[in-house]
Subunit: 291 residues, 2 copies
């Protein structure tokens, strides 16, 4: 894996795996599956790709051990976007390049489609091949990362208004809303590949750094990004009192800190050995992303 | 267990177990846990009581195998009530004898507190003592019962308007919205007590009948019940086009069918032997309930 490595192609291949699997899981006669599927389409599939990549880096060989879990992570991410876009939350009409769920189906069915994706994700977790012990470890780690000690808590902090740019709160928002979920996505790949608990824990820590980087670039793109590239409305974070990396550190300060998170993440991934080099490529990809 | 059996006391004792355990699970420093806990207070705890009772009837002896799961069921039920009460859904300001979550905390935090309870429920499932194989079976059964093939699907049918009283759709609403969740609550007790797969399946079927009964009495109480007893606003189902047991069968027809579901449920429970007689008492209690 030299400088020639084509990261875009690597991501594209794994994205196709995820897209195909999700499509399969939604080929149900129940008409409500179509409503849920609508919002899953068009995602970058970052979290499932991280799970699969980690599984491969940890010498996992049977995708049936990781693919249902990877897809479950994407459904959970999708549910959080649907609820986040609601009028009482961020009130965003545009997501993944099309009308957001509540614009397309109305608020009630949007909320329910999020709830349905949430439940279905946990059902998918149980579909994975492999030891029940590993699946329970995955369910424990994921439910912690996405619940009131993770994503949901981060969201409650994120929707508040702040009268001063508090870096401590910003860090807590980023850590809870984004970094823990990114970190756990990498972690579950290691769990399902039966890596040592040392590796499982260390990968989580490296994943937190990648997750912080991810949210920094998200905040930066909200300022400088184009709607067509992002597939969502940029400039949403300008609302008075919203804490973001640029609002706390300025655009240059946010970029500087993003680069630093990328360096710290890569230094950790490098320490795990050659199989994990791919995570350095993904880290650089996130640092430079335009969508 | 003769005619003297005090079902109210039986339910009260198990309710206390559940109330205490839930309180313990919410003694976290994180202030958002208080917001979530608010909505869990005041419930009848029917689903966790059914899980515990089934565990006991199936000769389970260590409550640590079932209590975290029983509490998780209650958190899931609570999340569904919070989302169901939202302005874009049933728009109910009153629940469990106090202001509903969105009236108390605003819509955004209400939605998030539901999401948080949902995630935390699955975390609690992993806390149960016992074999990982059993816990995975529980998570599979519960996620199916509450997701797009169960509760959430029932809700999507329930919020629609119908221009004629269609008994087939009413049955599908009751089955998906209520009966499957009640049935799975009984089923998980049997799973965690390591009952035979025959008993696990048969109890599920009996539970469906009890669940249908439960929703019939719910629909009837919405017509004849008192706000003080119900802890929620009666008469909500009168909205034009809402399908309920009385709107389809009339009040007397609904009562007749409720009694029939009770008889069918009891006949099944009786066939399982003396340990399951308690379910007949619970069935009668549900038939006669006033709240």
């Amino acid at each position: 894996m030299g400088t020639e490595f084509d990261i875009r192609n690597f991501l594209k291949e794994r994205k196709r795996l995820v897209d195909d699997a999700i499509k399969k899981y939604f080929s149900d006669a129940n008409p409500f599956f179509e409503v849920m599927y609508y919002s899953t389409e068009g995602g970058k599939r970052i979290r499932p790709i991280l799970a699969i990549t980690s599984y491969e880096a940890n010498r996992g060989t049977d995708f049936e051990h990781i693919l249902p879990i990877a897809c479950g992570l994407e459904l959970i991410h999708t549910y959080s976007l649907i609820h986040d876009d609601l009028p009482s939350m961020d009130n965003d009409d545009f997501r993944r390049g099309k009308a957001s769920a509540h614009k397309r189906f109305g608020e009630a069915r949007a909320i329910l489609s999020g709830d349905g994706l949430f439940a279905y994700a946990f059902e998918l977790f149980t579909y994975a091949k492999g030891a029940d012990e590993d699946k329970i470890a995955v369910i424990k780690a994921v439910s912690e990362a996405i619940g009131p000690k993770g994503v949901v808590y981060g969201q409650t902090l994120d929707i508040k208004e702040y009268n001063r740019p508090d870096p401590r709160i910003l860090r807590s928002i980023h850590l809870n809303k984004t970094a823990k979920f990114i970190a756990v996505s990498i972690q579950v790949g290691a769990i399902m590949a039966r890596a040592s608990s040392r590796i499982i824990n260390e990968l989580y820590k490296a994943g937190l750094l990648m997750g912080m980087l991810f949210q920094y670039t998200d905040d930066i793109l909200d300022v400088i990004g184009e709607k067509e590239c992002l597939g969502k409305t940029p400039g949403k974070d300008k609302d008075a009192g919203k804490l973001t990396a640029p609002s706390v550190y300025g655009l240059d300060g946010a970029r500087f800190r993003a680069r630093r998170y990328a360096e710290m993440a890569k230094s950790r991934f490098t320490s795990f050995g050659k199989e994990f080099e791919i995570f350095n490529h993904i880290t650089d990809f996130i640092l430079k992303r335009t969508y």
